[in-house]
């Protein structure tokens, strides 16, 4: 959109601040540089917190956040090449809607977007006036999308990506079914392999109840150890992902722990009881001759 609109927005009642920003995709996939007017951006966002170096001074300067710096091994003074070369002047704390920032004017010129911005950030005098400002801007600029920050952040959440929720549900469903089958079949095979041992117990006078009791105790113990190992491996996987892909956001779904535990326990019990019951009821002579 034309940068001139920023002035129009600033003149809207209750608006205390407005600044334009250009989101410029780079030659690297899923990477963009936000072109900002540093003084206005600082005033509006509360300012960058520099962990290394300082703000940009020249047209080729770039500020990166700590996540980007970690994943791309960047420091103040590093050169980044996106077809156009940039010099990193500072590393800042993440959380300002972009991983990389450059001065608005040079960025517009380098990417042939002179006088253009992608987003205009607006600050109003009070929370209560947000809605009326949105209404006023919608009337003034009917061809543009206007959102409150709450609406904007909800738009970029995973739930708003078409079909992603369904895709996630299918992946979880497949995971649950495969998990159930793996535990069930492992226990089934493990108990089947012990048919001869069950035959020995029967020859010693063990009743089907005694045999099943032993199997159940062992199965529950194995399942509990498996569940605890699974939980520990969750943390291990997260540490590994964070080390390999620092920009990858991982979240541990604690509400899945009891569900996964119940699935593992039920699958293990069904997997153990079925062949166990068969073996416990089987003729002891046949069970003893099982190899």
């Amino acid at each position: 959109m034309p940068e001139g609109i920023v002035g129009l927005v600033r003149r809207t009642p209750y608006v205390t601040m407005a600044t334009g920003s250009l989101v410029q995709p780079t030659s690297r996939v899923l990477t963009s540089i936000a072109g900002i007017h540093l003084a206005e951006f600082d005033a509006m966002s509360g300012g960058f917190k520099y962990l290394e170096g300082g703000p940009f001074m020249g047209p080729d300067d770039l500020i990166v956040d700590d996540v980007e710096a970690r994943s791309s091994h960047l420091h103040a003074g590093s050169i980044v090449d996106f077809g156009i070369k940039w010099r990193v002047t500072g590393v800042v704390e993440s959380g300002k809607f972009s991983r990389m920032f450059a001065d608005l004017k040079p960025l517009q010129e380098k990417y042939s977007s002179t006088g253009k911005v992608s987003v205009i950030w607006v600050k109003v005098d009070h929370q209560a006036t947000v809605q009326s400002v949105i209404e006023a801007l919608k009337q003034e600029l009917p061809e543009y999308q206007i959102w409150s920050v709450e609406q904007y952040t909800s738009l970029i959440s995973a739930n708003n990506i078409p079909l992603l929720k369904n895709f996630t549900a299918v992946v979880i469903g497949i995971g649950v079914v495969i998990g159930f089958l793996v535990v069930f079949l492992s226990m089934y095979t493990a108990v089947l392999e012990r048919t001869r041992e069950i035959g020995i117990l029967k020859a010693l006078g063990a009743s089907p109840g005694y045999v099943l009791g032993i199997l159940l105790r062992e199965t529950v113990l194995l399942a509990v150890v498996g569940i605890l190992s699974g939980i520990l491996m969750t943390y291990g996987s997260r540490a590994l992902l964070n080390a390999l892909y620092p920009t990858f956001v991982t979240e541990i779904a604690y509400d899945w722990w009891p569900i996964a535990a119940v699935i593992a326990l039920i699958a293990a019990l069904i997997g153990a009881i079925y062949p166990g019951l068969k073996a416990a009821r089987q003729d002891a002579i046949e069970a003893l001759s099982y190899d």
Binding site: R196, E197, I200, L201, K202, A203, L204, G205, D283, I285
Partner: protein
Amino acid sequence: MIEIHDLKKIYRVGEVDVNALRGVDLSVKRGEFVCVVGPSGSGKSTLFHILGGLTPPTSGEIHIDGRDLLKMTDAERTNLRKRTVGFVFQKYNLLPTLTAEENIEIARDIAGRKQEKDPGFDEVIKLLGIEGRLHHKPRALSGGEQQRVAIARSIVNHPAILLADEPTGNLDSENSQIVLSLLRDLNRRTGQTILMITHDLDAASYGDRIVRMRDGRIVE
């Protein structure tokens, strides 16, 4: 102790009836060491499986310690195996994940005697020469040692009869001699009634009496 009269056992294999026992008569006194010899398929193992309550007979009479095996339910035969009969198998049949001591203890546990003290049993362990091997798992024991542990397990609940099915079948001659001498000592010292199946006539000579089987009958 054991009274068997006209004992018959018919197996059904597919659609064919197999007459495994065709009328066995046998009487064993308390404290006797009887060896049963005969070729493969003569019905020795079937007779042992019936005596041990592992399979029910088809017809005839069979009494152990006054109890009629023909009228026993599955649960009663399971109880018979707990205390009245002890087994020693050719393949030892020890539980591989348990130590020698645990293998013996599980037999006591199954019989519901885990808490009972049995100081006399230490003597039996010494007699069998396995007191130093009790904390080893079967894979760390020789065949002879495994069979001696199996013998200890079979008599831990003081059964009325010890049934040994080819106990030296997997052993070399030296270990066979040791195991057979131990069975004879056990019989002499503790008065344990023993019935032993064997192919080997030398092994059978360790018993008080030899019974020959052929085609599902006792021939002499």
